[in-house]
């Protein structure tokens, strides 16, 4: 036993190995493909179905009041509320503003919670944390994975919205905003993922193997923030919106990342 030789891994190689674990797991797991497929298919189905229902009159059987169902008029309604003249309603916090690309923020909550709780439910966390003294690597890797998958969801939703719009024959006209605004709006949403994901990571590492608790906690806890997504990332987004989202993402990722690391260091990981 005289030839025992301990070599400490560098921080970068330690983080790289943790990222390798998560990337391999994500690629081998059906969860990622399912969630990305949902992100792609949802806007197509929603756009086409809502277009088909356009003009349908619904009558309340009790009051006899008739309601005309309005379908979408513009493809970009799947990305955000269309600005009215003067842009006053561009960031409206109505239900329709939530039933669009912003649902990806709820989808990513489910992904992060299941992705993390699976580590603890399967017992893989024992292998991870026995050999890995640095809990921070785990938090960084999960956060980066969450943000990446979240960004992919947003991009696929965007593509799905275009496909849906094309199938339903909706207008692609950018009314009250430019194409640059649209790109900045998408970038702002991607940056905003960095605000949401650390919250879900923190809740998940605290709940550990109890996936239902982390999902309920994430959806419940994030609900107030979900409501603000359309406000923070309107279709008329400017560079300032994007930069603010980026700054918020960095602050949340670092701040809550330390909190998650602290939770892992001070609680049993099995």
């Amino acid at each position: 036993m005289e030839n025992i030789n301990f070599k400490k891994r560098t921080r970068s190689s330690s983080l790289k190995s943790m990222l390798s674990v998560d990337i391999r797991r994500a690629l081998k797991s059906r969860l990622v493909y399912i969630i990305l497929l949902i992100a792609l298919v949802t806007p197509v189905l929603m756009t086409v179905m809502m277009s088909m229902m356009d003009g349908t009159v619904s009558t309340d059987p009790q009051t006899g009041v008739q309601t005309v169902i309005h379908g979408p008029e513009n493809t970009w309604q799947q990305i955000g509320t269309l600005p009215t003249e003067g842009g006053a309603d561009a960031s409206g916090m109505d239900v329709m503003a939530m039933c669009n690309i912003n649902m990806a923020f709820m989808g990513i909550a489910v992904f992060v919670c299941l992705f993390i709780s699976d580590d603890f439910r399967s017992g893989f966390s024992k292998n991870l944390f026995t050999a890995r003294a640095r809990r921070g690597d785990y938090v960084i890797s999960k956060t980066l994975m969450g943000i990446s998958v979240g960004a992919l969801m947003l991009i696929l939703y965007f593509i799905g919205a275009i496909l849906g719009g094309a199938i339903a024959g909706l207008s692609f006209e950018t009314v009250g905003f430019s194409f640059a605004n649209l790109v900045l709006c998408m970038l702002a949403k991607i940056c905003l993922m960095a605000v949401f994901v650390p919250i879900f990571v923190l809740i998940s590492v605290a709940a550990k193997r109890t996936a239902w608790l982390s999902i309920v906690g994430s959806l419940g806890g994030g609900m107030l923030l979900f409501m603000t997504v359309s406000l923070i990332t309107p279709l008329t987004a400017t560079l300032l919106h994007t930069l603010l989202c980026l700054a918020g993402g960095v602050l949340f990722s670092v701040g809550l990342g330390f909190a998650s690391k602290s939770v892992l260091e001070n609680t049993a990981v099995v």
Partner: protein
């Protein structure tokens, strides 16, 4: 050098004290049989050694360094309770994840090598959830061995294995330590199996170390005896008690003579008294008997 040195370790879960001032010394290169009843603190101790739970007090050193030392941690392999595998992934993919975690170069070759060591190379493509219990345990050991650990912590690796599984596992244990660079801590309730491989023992009770010994010390403490089954057991026992210094009757109905005398002398002595032996054996007190005796305060 000691692979593990624990002094006064304490771990509490709320009101319950799982480990209460435990001292433990595991020499490097040993196969350390860690024995204790359910709830005695074995798993908690092992989890503390692996850094999976934090101790409340005391000191834990691995190879002379603090147990939280990053460099040391990377050379600890673990199989606690069950192998940490994803059920829907194949054995190979699960092994590759473990290899990624350790940042191994040439990971595929290492994974195949370890699967060969545990006689699982033919099942690499099987989904983990479709493996038998014995196969799963072997995958767990292969995973624990991936990073060429200096210390392996195996909690109940023999649980639920059939006779063949036990034999394979025994062979694997001996393969693991044959180059002398690894230390293995293995806890099990199957003491007869443990006795076949362990070089050192630690017996824990109520979170405290009751006894630690080498296999040689255990042998010295577990004397050989002559066991005789015969009719007229009562008279035979009385006769043996007169001539020999330490005799007793065991649960299987054998009269035991612990004195270091030739077997034929004892048989002849009974024969001359008109008592015929129907069964004769020469045996040694087992680890199980030693353990039960210790638990009952007999030592």
């Amino acid at each position: 050098m000691n692979a593990v040195e624990i002094r006064g370790a304490v771990k509490r879960f709320g009101e319950k004290t799982a480990v209460a001032g435990l001292d433990m010394t595991v020499p490097a290169g040993a196969i350390y049989g860690f024995i204790g009843e359910n709830g005695s603190g074995k798993s908690t101790t092992e989890k503390m050694i692996c850094g999976l739970i934090k101790k409340d007090a005391g000191e834990i050193r691995l190879f002379g360094r603090d147990y939280t030392d990053e460099a040391v941690r990377e050379r600890v392999g673990v199989l606690i309770e069950a192998p940490g595998c994803f059920p829907s992934l194949s054995v190979f993919d699960n092994m590759m994840l473990a290899a990624d975690n350790l940042g191994l170069e040439d990971a595929e070759a290492k994974v195949i090598e370890m699967l060969k060591l545990v006689r699982m190379e033919g099942a690499a493509g099987n989904k983990y959830k479709n493996c038998s219990l014995g196969m799963k345990q072997r995958v767990g050991i292969a995973m624990a061995l991936l990073g060429e650990p200096y210390l392996l912590v195996l909690d109940e690796p023999l649980n639920g294995l059939d006779a063949d599984g036990m034999r394979i596992m025994r062979e694997v244990f001996l393969d693991i330590v044959k180059d002398g660079t690894r230390t293995v801590i293995v806890s099990s309730h199957l003491l007869s199996e443990l006795q076949k491989v362990a070089t050192h023992y630690g017996i824990i009770r109520h979170g405290k170390m009751l006894d630690e010994m080498t296999a040689d010390e255990l042998d010295a403490d577990c004397p050989t005896y002559i066991g005789i089954r015969c009719e007229e057991r009562g008279r035979a026992r009385a006769l043996l008690g007169i001539k020999y210094s330490r005799t007793e009757e065991d649960e299987a109905g054998f009269l035991r003579v612990y004195d270091n005398v030739p077997t034929e002398d004892v048989v002849k002595y009974l024969f001359e008294a008109g008592i015929y032996a129907t069964e004769i054996k020469r045996d040694r007190i087992s680890l199980e008997e030693y353990y039960i005796d210790l638990m009952n305060g007999g030592r």
